[in-house]
Amino acid sequence: MCLINVLFKPYRCKSSQLSIFVILGILITILSGCTQKSPPLERTFRLAWENAPKIADPRYAIDADSQYLGDFIHCSLISFDPQGGSKNRLASEIKWIDSKTLEITLRTSMRFSNQRPVTAEDVKANYEFLRGDPADPTPIKSTFSPLTKIEVLSPEKLRFYFSEPNGDFVSNLSIGILPKEQAEGPKIIDPKKVMGCGDFEVDQWTVSHIQLKRKWDAPQKDVQFIRIELVKDENTRLLKLRNSELDLVQNSLNRDQLKKLQEYKNLKLLKSPGLNTAYLAFQFEDPILKNRKVRQAISYAIDRKKIMDHIFHGWAIPAATILLPASPFYNQKLKWVDYHPEKAKRLLDEAGFPMKGPHQKEPRFALKLKTTTNPTRLIVAHALAEELNQVGIDLQIESMDWGKFKEDVDKGNAQMWNLNWVGFKGPDIYRYAFSSRSIPPHGANRGRFSDPRLDQLLESAKIEVNFERRKKLYDQVQELVDSELPYIFLWHEEQFAVLNSRVNNYEIYMDGRLSSIADVSFSPNQTK
């Protein structure tokens, strides 16, 4: 054949060499489409996310995407219903024996991927790790510090002992449970090795997609596979929806496009109020931002209504604090900040930052806002810059990849940034975000805000069991946050889901989780 002749008579080879080349080429091109085995369309739910979940180990999964993934592959003592209320999942019963002791009874039907049932020993191992002091502690360790002892009474029953009464603790029991051997070990880097007790397990995990498979046959459920495409580009997500290549994209789309999307017959739009709050954060170690008048001025300088109308097309309500007005702990006396540029200018003058230059036309000072590449957040950032420009602040915008953004912000390498809190459950979020003990990696106080009065209030509220007294304490917390302004609260965005019309029974959860996917049904023959 040619390959043998190639050494002696290459000029005889030309056309046959070429044809081998051609055949090989065609083969590879065909194979490229077939390298990933795609599961059957009628049993697969396809969705797209902007960012890949960092980690599948539930002890370290604190970002929203990792938690949403955890919902499918892990089971936790409690879970949440669409309205954000907690419900038992792994636990069949949770009750306080006395003010400092919690007794948990487990369901016997939950199993790990290797068929082994989940026992109290497993639960104990997980929570021991969370409250303990391993080489690489979990970022939520401080939440579990009041937990002093865990006692196993039987394979289905265990008790948690606390150092002090802890009214809120039950909502923290939403961490996925690993088998004992894994729970005692180090952080699991390879997602495929994680053994969860949820309904699904990781089938494929590549750079461009994650595929989950239902662990045990459930013929009455339509969804057997969940395929999460990782699509960084917003426009591509939109186009894939249009082309019926996806069944769901939730929240990570530009609201400008939503109006148009409703015209397509193969798509439907669902809306729901969301447990989220957009905010502008400050770095308290910065000399300019340390000054409260500056922060107040910035708050008055922003025309929230204009932004909500034109960027969110009215799908947002103004925010006065992290909690939503519907929360039982919401301080009803809080007022939404008015747009008042004159007041802002005055405050800045008073703070000692007059307009500069010969005609007082030059900006007073410059600030840098870091943001992500999310298009909506980026436009908001630009809009904020434009507003601040009007009062004489030169705001520079730097948009960066999510991974770097998070790192920079956690390390305190940012002057200002804008972000959203999503899926917070109760008023304990104030401690997680503003306590001086919550500076990363021990919490989310990225701005290094420190106020001893607030710390005191937060500590008292944490151990308060009586609802009325707790509410009073948290009311004071909210007022203090409102006057000290570690954040400027912007708005609460409404959630929306764009679904392919073949999907039925999908429900949007208040905290943004996607648990509803597992129970969805497909209308037959409706994929275009």
């Binding site: 590549t206 770095q283 920079d408 940012a414």
Partner: protein, 308 residues
């Protein structure tokens, strides 16, 4: 013959070594302090020093070169500053998609431009020739980050024939290949045409014609063989443009290859990943040049004779 081979291989080694050395100290050629830029504003001195340590900048130059070279030999290209994973692993999981794309682009280019260039040469001076040349000029002038979205607008959005982006399903490779190969095809059509034109009027062709060999026979046996040298050279040279084209095309089409890796690393200012990709691409480039040299060595007996 063997001496030519040996010479070629021997030349490959010092050049690759120079590439390794240059890549290992590349950062020193960047004006300003790149560590400042990598760490970003408001980074503490402590953070910056940590980065310097991770990049090996706190060591003398010779040690940096040595460490990187040893690393290369052992297949270790450092670790990503942001993802904390080995660079070789990151490149490895994305190599296949990029190779697929590059391969299909080259394939398409050869399949399309050689016949077109030949046709153009044979029908020199006619309207067809003029159209081919005009289209090729358009192809060379078109940035492929413009062509890409245009193709998406037409074929995915408007007509709905092909998937929008990403690498899933057999049709998804079509649009990226088209976008990537556009300028390649354009260049190669011209080169092929010129090369054929030059050879069509040579003596040996006239001799063959006079002997009664038919037009197509003449074409295939003689002209193609000789033109193949020029064509192969051009493909080798164009590989450089292919690399940059790949980075841009992968970004436009969300194709999970090494191109998107380097584009993301640029966004994150992840120096080790960029450094590793530069090395990988350069190595691939040098290897391709070596292969093209060897290929046209096989093709053309005259070179073998001359080398003797």
């Amino acid at each position: 013959m063997r001496t030519y081979l040996l010479k070629r291989l021997l030349y490959f080694i010092p050049i690759s070594f120079s590439v390794v050395v240059l890549v290992s100290v590349m950062i020193h050629f960047i004006p300003g302090d790149p560590v400042d830029h990598i760490a970003g504003d408001f980074a503490s001195e402590k953070d910056k020093n940590l980065i310097r340590q991770k990049l090996g900048l706190d060591q003398p130059l010779s040690k940096q070169i040595l460490n990187y070279t040893l690393g290369v030999v052992h297949g270790d290209l450092g670790r990503s500053l942001v993802l904390h994973r080995p660079v070789t692993e990151l490149i490895g999981e994305r190599a296949l998609p990029t190779l697929e794309l590059a391969f299909s682009a080259i394939l398409l280019t050869c399949l399309v431009s050689i016949p077109l260039g030949a046709l153009s040469a044979l029908k020199n001076g006619t309207l067809l020739d003029f159209l081919c040349m005009g289209t090729s000029l358009v192809g060379i002038s078109m940035p492929n980050f413009w062509l890409g979205p245009l193709l998406i607008l037409l074929f995915s959005i408007h007509l709905g024939w092909l998937p929008v982006a990403g690498r899933s399903g057999p049709g998804s490779i079509v649009l990226p290949t088209l976008a990537l190969s556009s300028s390649l095809v354009a260049v190669l059509v011209r080169v092929t045409r010129t090369s054929f034109l030059e050879h069509l009027h040579e003596d040996y062709v006239r001799t063959a014609r006079s002997k009664g060999v038919n037009e197509w026979g003449v074409f295939f046996k003689h002209v193609l063989k000789n033109a193949a040298i020029t064509i192969t050279t051009v493909i080798g040279l164009q590989f450089g443009a292919l690399v940059t084209g790949t980075i841009i095309t992968e970004k436009v089409f969300d194709w999970p290859g090494v191109g998107t890796l380097i584009a993301e690393a640029i966004d994150r200012r992840d120096y080790p990943v960029v450094q590793g990709c530069v090395f990988a691409f350069s190595l691939a480039f040098l290897l391709t040049n070596l292969i093209t040299d060897l290929v046209y060595f096989w093709i053309d007996p005259r070179i073998r004779v001359n080398a003797k």
